[in-house]
């Protein structure tokens, strides 16, 4: 179930090993991303993308701003 979190929640989750997924285009990801995040551009997501989500840890999906 998706839940909105704030920056402090994210720091805690990242510390505890959450999977971070940036959904911005590749170039923006290459320029700068959160430590340890992987890139999964929103425009390239399809029915198979969920397979890359880990099931054993919280998954945090983020964009540029509040979305």
């Amino acid at each position: 179930m998706p839940t909105a979190i704030d920056r402090n929640d994210l720091r805690e989750l990242a510390r505890s090993g959450a999977q971070l997924i940036e959904v911005l285009p590749r170039q923006e990801y290459d320029d700068e991303h959160l430590p340890g995040a992987i890139n999964m551009p929103l425009t390239r997501m399809d029915g198979e993308s969920g397979a890359e989500f880990r099931r054993d840890v919280p998954v945090v999906v983020y964009c540029q701003d509040y979305q």
Binding site: I5, D31, L34
Partner: protein
């Protein structure tokens, strides 16, 4: 969550090709004098003089910036409280702004320094454009030595 912009603007670490670009949060001076809104100007003047500074940032108990005292404010009646003479809601930049470009932008506008705060308004420090120049000079000197 608030997104990558909010994370970077809070001065938190990032990875990527631009992550190593010096940011104003890296260079901002942390020793900028601060005071509380109720502090008498007389006390603030003494604090600022001791630190050899020319400005004082008015913050609340959570270190959130409320205002700034410049020359005029610091020369006001010593019995007045800081909040009565401060410049309220001063302009502040986020720590993730690139240092060199920000220094150039400030130079074009004749501004020598700017406050740096997180996206929650907490004080990070005071960014002086001359510090960028000095840093560049030091790096150039180091480069020639090695």
């Amino acid at each position: 969550m608030a997104g990558k912009a909010d994370w970077s603007a809070s001065g938190l670490p990032t990875e990527g090709t631009l992550a190593s670009v010096p940011r104003i949060g890296d260079i901002a001076r942390r020793d900028v004098p601060t005071c509380m809104p109720d502090d008498p100007i007389g006390d603030v003047q003494e604090r600022v003089r001791r630190l050899g500074a020319d400005t004082c940032v008015v913050v609340n108990e959570r270190n959130v910036v409320l205002g700034r005292l410049r020359k005029d404010g610091l020369e006001a009646d010593p019995e007045l409280s800081a909040q009565l003479v401060m410049e309220p809601g001063p302009i502040a930049y986020r720590p993730n702004e690139p240092a060199k470009e920000t220094a150039e932008y400030l130079a074009e506008r004749g501004v020598s320094n700017i406050l740096v705060t997180t996206s929650d308004g907490e004080l990070v420090g005071l960014f002086r454009r001359d510090d960028v120049l000095q840093r560049s000079t030091e790096k150039a000197t180091e480069g020639k030595r090695s």
